[in-house]
């Protein structure tokens, strides 16, 4: 008897509930593409926004709809991208690895301040107070907003207050580009080796009082690489699409504001420029 009640009631209960659930399942089901979840799982979940979407999930949605290709994700390793691509049956659409580069070489060892900034330790903050007090109005303020903004620990401030980018870690998410109040960062393909590390638009040697590695708009580089480098707003502009660039313009630059970024040796400057770089910081007193 006991067994019968038990079996009967449990059986009945499960039957009723099962029916209800099955019915509800068919009536109330909400259609959602399961591939979105699958793709999201394969993404790095950093939500860095490097792909141009607000986060990994929206990117996954876009991937599934085919609006974008997996290669757009700047963070995930190639193997993962191939996995996603093969899962969705599309091309990887890989792009050449880009890295963030700083257009300033004026660390505390080669540049001076006009004024002494006090207040919040933030470039954004100091830039709003009379430009931050750096002698060169275009130069890096060195308070490390980019270092904070970088989610991948790819930026570290050097001894002399200049951000150094670890190209292996950099995912080209663009956070540092947004963070820099002086707009010194930009994203470039890794293969672009010749680099103008200055933004000063001043002409002539006067700027050298403030920064020893500033561009004086002498134009020698433009003469070295005609067609590839031209002077615009007192600054050399490199056209990377025109043929192969060599390290020559960098070697001739008298101040070292054009550098050759060697994969092994780092930033290579010309003979005359190399003398400028000092080991320790400049004193505040003007020369």
């Amino acid at each position: 008897m006991l067994v019968l009640t038990a079996v009967g009631s449990i059986g009945g209960l499960t039957l009723i509930l099962g029916t209800a659930l099955v019915l509800a399942n068919s009536r109330l089901h909400v259609e959602e593409d399961p591939r979105i979840d699958a793709v999201e799982d394969m993404l790095p979940a950093t939500n860095c926004g490097g792909c141009g979407y607000p986060g990994c999930r929206p990117f996954a949605e876009a991937l599934v709809t085919g609006a974008v290709l997996p290669g757009k994700c700047t963070v995930s390793p190639e193997t993962e991208q191939i996995r996603i691509a093969s899962y969705l049956g599309v091309d990887v659409g890989a792009e050449e690895k880009q890295v963030a580069r700083l257009a300033c070489a004026g660390g505390a060892n080669v540049s001076r301040d006009h004024a002494h900034y006090e207040g919040l330790e933030s470039c954004g903050g100091s830039a709003l107070v009379g430009g931050g007090g750096k002698g060169c109005f275009w130069g890096c303020l060195g308070l490390g907003d980019c270092e904070v903004a970088c989610d991948f620990d790819a930026i570290e401030m050097s001894r002399h207050g200049l951000p150094m980018v670890d190209e292996d870690r950099c995912t080209a998410c663009g956070d540092c580009v947004t963070a820099c109040p002086k707009d010194l960062f930009s994203l470039h393909p890794q293969s672009h080796r010749l680099w103008v590390a200055c933004r000063s638009q001043e002409e002539g040697d006067e700027i050298l009082n403030d920064c020893h590695v500033a561009c004086t708009a002498c134009g020698r580089c433009a003469m070295d690489a005609p067609g590839q480098i031209e002077m615009r707003n007192n600054l050399p502009v490199i056209d990377y699409s025109e043929g192969t660039l060599t390290a020559k313009p960098a070697q001739r630059c008298p101040t070292g504001s054009i550098v050759w970024l060697d994969p092994k040796e780092g930033a290579v400057r010309g003979q005359s420029a190399r003398k400028i770089i000092r080991r320790d910081a400049l004193s505040d007193a003007p020369t």
Partner: protein, 472 residues
């Protein structure tokens, strides 16, 4: 004139006035510097376009740059001399801007030839607006907003009251005070232009109670039958802010994100009004302005009529500075901007040059910074009724988007009340400036991206916002 009007706004603070050093000193003419630098962008809006060449000789008061578009004004030569070059000059914002470098002729009499006058009684509003733009008038209180742009009535808007702002609530500054005392006739000459251009039917001049002599002078000088009243207001900072003055005098609140026009009022600084009254009848342009040079770091304090473009170095050298001068700022100590380079020239917006020595230990400078203890002093001080404490905490955590969306960050006009009262010495205003700058930048980037894309994607804006959030 009601002597002890209780008209005022809610909240606000009472910083020490510190005006006694200069308020009794009459306005004096400042000498010409060996080189004057007229920046082409002394106002909000597009820089003016130079109409002179390098090496060209100019006469004082001659128009040397023409406005570029509606939100731009003309520039006039501050002295007769020769244009040395047109090049980059540092500005108070910390960016290099283009400026016209003029070497004044040392022997010149520096007389100003009169131009085509504009008569308040006969000119139509459009003519007045154009004349004011040509005269290069911008808000001389410090904001630098082109005055003519305020006067241009958009479709469907109307103004009933013109408010002339004589509050001058910033400590140290006495320019408006002196102008009201010495040039009340100019003020009353300027008012008809503004009323005619806007269609306002009455004018109220608001003067704070620490300038009763000026109020008395103005009151006595009101032309017969003119619909002008002078009101004294209790001394309180930031009474001189447009929104606060409108609240104090009219009891109306300018809607968030809106303009005084939305509550049928228009507000101009008293010195701006006086300048209009001085320039327009003679067809002139601004070539100089009254500046209070003061503060503990300055030896010869006073109110001077300084030519536009005089480099600060010259100003300080001429006025004399104490040995231990360490800080100089343009404007008053509450909202004035610190000067990072003495090559910055005096512009139309510079109402004061205040110098502090190293002895002026501002508590913000030396004392310890404490965490926010949520005392609520800033909430009590904020004239806009924001919650600076919450905003500050959000800012420290980089939650800029929430600051603007949930806590009205963009309504903050950086009056500095919160930072002034903060017992923890938190740089609230600076936090807000950073946040605003980051948000503005994110917005611009989003827009640029939007424009660049062939097919507009709705995802782009959230992306930029997400970026703003990430900035810390």
């Amino acid at each position: 004139m009601t002597l002890f009007s209780r008209k005022t706004f809610a909240h606000g603070i009472h910083p020490p006035g510190l005006k006694d050093d200069t308020k009794g000193l009459p306005i004096r003419q400042f000498p010409f510097a060996p080189v004057l630098v007229v920046p082409l962008s002394q106002h909000i809006g597009k820089p003016a376009v130079p109409v002179v060449r390098e090496g060209q000789e100019v006469i004082r008061g001659q128009c040397i740059a023409q406005p570029d578009g509606f939100l731009s004004v003309a520039m006039h030569a501050p002295a007769s001399g020769v244009v040395r070059r047109i090049g980059l000059t540092p500005s108070i914002t910390g960016r290099m801007t283009s400026g016209i470098f003029i070497d004044p002729f040392p022997a010149s009499t520096q007389e100003v030839p009169e131009g085509t006058p504009c008569d308040a009684a006969t000119a139509n509003p459009e003519e007045i607006v154009a004349a004011i733009q040509q005269a290069g008038v911008v808000g001389l209180g410090g904001a630098g907003f082109p005055t003519h742009a305020k006067l241009k009535m958009p479709e469907g808007k109307s103004v009933d009251t013109l408010l002339v702002n004589g509050a001058e609530c910033e400590p140290y500054l006495t320019t408006d005070h002196r102008v009201m005392l010495e040039h009340s006739d100019d003020v009353f000459a300027g008012i008809p232009y503004l009323m005619r251009a806007t269609g306002a039917t009455r004018t109220i001049i608001g003067v704070e109670a620490n300038k009763l002599d000026a109020a008395a002078v103005l009151n006595a000088a009101i032309p017969d039958g003119a619909p002008i009243t002078v009101e004294t207001l209790p001394v309180k900072y930031p009474q001189g802010a447009e929104k606060m003055l409108i609240k104090a005098l009219l009891g109306r609140e300018v809607p968030s994100g809106g303009f005084p026009l939305d509550v049928h009022a228009i507000c101009t600084n008293v010195t701006t009004t006086a300048e209009i009254g001085r320039l327009l009848p003679r067809g002139l342009g601004i070539q100089e302005r009254v500046v209070t040079i003061g503060g503990p770091g300055i030896k010869n304090k006073g109110n001077y009529r300084v030519p536009i473009g005089t480099p600060l170095r010259f100003v300080l050298e001429w006025a004399g500075m104490e040995e231990n001068l360490t800080r100089v700022f343009l404007g008053g100590p509450m909202m004035g901007q610190a000067v990072s380079s003495l090559d910055i020239p005096i512009t139309k917006g510079s109402s004061g040059v205040i110098g502090f020595t190293s002895c002026e230990s501002s508590p913000l400078n030396d004392s310890k910074h404490y965490p926010c203890i949520r005392c609520g002093y800033c909430v009590d001080a904020c004239p806009i009724f924001l919650n600076p404490s919450q905003l500050g905490l959000l800012a420290e955590n980089g939650e800029y988007l929430r600051m603007s969306e949930d806590f009205h960050l963009m309504d903050c006009f950086e009056c500095g009340c919160c930072t002034f009262v903060c017992p923890s010495h938190i740089q609230l205003v600076q936090h807000f400036r950073i946040a605003k700058a980051a948000l503005r930048k994110a917005k611009v980037e989003a827009k640029a991206k939007d424009d660049a894309k062939d097919e507009p994607k709705p995802k782009d804006e959230p992306k930029a916002e997400a970026k703003a959030k990430m900035l810390a």
